[in-house]
């Protein structure tokens, strides 16, 4: 092969071509390194300082974390997260799986029904919270509706009951997210090989039994993805609390995301707010790392 003039002329261009992909990616690399990891580190540093209304870089050791653990409101928020997260995840999964399995039984107008189950996911949590705040209004909401419909003794005042207000958040969050879980499982069900079912049916197993023992266990990956997404939504839940209860009555419906916001931005407790943010990150990592680990392992085995 002889070197032509055209190739010679192209060589500086070639060099540019080699660098182009890196150049194109460079701004995003900068953003990720600074805006993601740099900022996390910055918040981490702030959590070890005495910062209040303004950032000051005076070392405070673990004092902010100690104050956080001494703070009753933080414990209420953390316990609420466990209660809210547990119920929200459990109920959304149960409803999602049930509706997906039922919709998988050759239902006419399936697409239409699916659309109606999923639309809440398109709404902002602020809209959802506003709607449910009204529905659960003691005296005017469902409380009154069911009494008007003849259920004389019906009372629904959870929204102002410090012991039950978290259930209100659960109801609204389940309404918003369970349709999405249904869609995930329905997509998973569509990928199951029908011959497995036929084989099981030949063995004389009933349809519910086949779903329980054969089909659903084969959807383990979908289950884990759903679990991941739901816990992520739960830990980040902020807008729903803001719209529905603002953390009240008192701080009985506080969640960590709400705690972080009010201590950092309203009460001028930047150091302690940062400490709470770092603990939220820890909670996400505690769920994410095992999940990614098992994902990677299953991919390597596949």
């Amino acid at each position: 092969m002889t070197t032509t003039t055209a190739q010679l002329r192209a060589s500086p261009l070639d060099a540019l071509q080699r660098w182009l992909p890196k150049l194109v990616l460079a701004p995003s690399m900068f953003i990720v390194l600074v805006g993601f990891y740099g900022y996390i580190l910055w918040t981490f540093v702030l959590s070890f300082t005495t910062s209040t209304f303004l950032p000051t870089y005076k070392w405070a050791g673990l004092a902010q974390y100690a104050r956080l653990f001494d703070n009753d409101r933080w414990w209420v928020a953390s316990k609420n997260l466990l209660l809210f997260g547990g119920l929200f995840i459990g109920i959304s999964l149960a409803i999602g799986v049930l509706l997906a399995v039922l919709l998988d039984q050759r239902i006419r107008r399936e697409g239409f029904i699916r659309t109606l189950y999923l639309y809440p996911m398109a709404l902002s949590m602020i809209v959802t919270g506003t709607a449910w705040k009204w529905l659960l209004n003691p005296g005017m909401g469902l409380d009154k509706l069911l009494r008007d419909w003849g259920w004389e003794g019906f009372r629904l005042d959870w929204l102002i009951d410090p012991d039950r207000v978290v259930y209100c958040l659960v109801i609204a969050a389940v309404w918003q997210a369970s349709g999405f879980i249904m869609a995930m499982f329905l997509a998973g069900l569509r990928g199951v090989d029908p011959s497995i079912i036929r084989a099981a049916q030949m063995d004389g197993a009933s349809l519910p039994r086949i779903y329980w023992t054969v089909v659903l266990p084969s959807l383990r990956p979908v289950f884990f993805s759903a679990l991941m997404i739901l816990s992520h939504i739960a830990i980040k839940s902020f807008d729903l609390v803001a719209a529905m209860t603002a953390g009240g009555p008192g701080y009985s419906s506080d969640l960590p995301a709400m705690f972080m916001y009010s201590f950092t931005f309203s009460r001028g407790q930047m150091g302690m707010g940062s400490a709470s943010a770092i603990l939220m990150l820890g909670a996400i990592l505690a769920i994410l790392v095992p999940y990614l680990y098992s994902e990677l392992r299953s991919k390597r085995h596949a």
């Binding site: 182009l20 953003i31 998988d104 398109a122 902002s124 529905l135 089909v215």
Partner: protein, 281 residues
């Protein structure tokens, strides 16, 4: 999988299945119906009737008042959402193109680092981000919110395009490179024309995420630059004066309508985005 139902005819279990599905439809619909009904009632109807009672007078006053209160913030949301969606989608497409077809040493590591952004609890970056916006002179501006949404939307937009592009056969790009086509020519002539579905998914995902955002809106904006979600929350949770539930519900509908409309028109892409965002590659 459609389970092979041997008797599609009416049986007791099939009636039960349909009954459960129908009840579920009603339960999902009730909040929307209540919002609509309440938004068209007069305050008198609201206090005398109940959630599902029909308004004695269909009144638009709630909508008029709500629009009068939130219309400025509605436009803010548009000013924030449109540029942020377009910019983050464009950057995501280019990133995905590089990460799938022009890999270099370290690009995979970068992708891994970026993916974590899909799970990042934003609380860990709020303070530094607000200091930075202040330094840039973008505090409490819609441009500042555009910037924040672009930065923290990159993880998802890149993921969408990268996962779409890895499934395109290498041979296509290799042949074009042998023909002397460069980085951008290949992108414009070959890759972009086949990207319509993933562009739709990405646009719709970003639109719903950014339109529905509350956290960034409440932290990084104030007064005149607030998005609709923040304005709605302020309206609903102010305790001064008598509560006008018809106005609250109309405002909530106004805040919810753009994303609902997108969902109705392009539901297919919406669902695909949700599941693509869910099942990480």
């Amino acid at each position: 999988m459609h389970s092979p139902a041997d008797k599609p005819a009416l049986s007791l279990s099939r009636i039960a299945i349909h009954a459960v599905l129908l009840i579920a439809v009603l339960l999902y619909l009730v909040p929307l119906v209540v919002m609509l009904l309440t938004s068209f009632k007069t305050p008198e109807d609201i206090s005398t009737g109940n959630l599902l009672s029909w308004p004695t007078v269909v009144s638009g006053i709630g909508w008029v008042k709500a629009w009068g209160t939130v219309n400025g913030y509605f436009w803010n949301s548009i000013l924030i959402t449109v540029p942020a969606v377009l910019i983050s989608t464009a950057i995501g497409a280019l990133n995905g193109y590089v990460l799938s077809m022009w890999r270099f040493r370290g690009s995979q590591l970068f992708f891994g680092l970026l993916l974590f952004g899909c799970f990042l609890p934003f609380q860990t970056v709020l303070l530094p981000a607000s200091f930075t916006l202040g330094k840039l002179g973008l505090a409490s501006t819609t441009s500042g919110l555009v910037l924040v949404h672009v930065v923290y939307g990159l993880a998802f937009t890149t993921l969408f395009f990268r996962n779409f592009y890895v499934s395109i056969p290498d041979a296509l790009v290799k042949a074009a490179r042998l023909d002397g086509a460069g980085f951008f020519t290949i992108f414009r002539r070959i890759i972009l024309p086949m990207s319509t579905p993933i562009i739709m998914v990405c646009l719709i995902w970003q639109f719903t995420q950014i339109w529905n955002d509350f956290l960034f809106g409440v932290v990084f904006s104030s007064g005149d630059s607030q998005p609709i979600t923040v304005a709605l929350n302020n309206l609903v949770n102010t305790s001064t004066g008598a509560k006008e539930y018809n106005v609250d519900m109309a405002a909530a509908m106004i805040a919810g309508l753009p994303t609902l409309l997108v969902y109705v028109v392009a539901g297919k892409y919406f669902v695909r985005g949700l599941t693509a965002g869910a099942v990480k590659g």
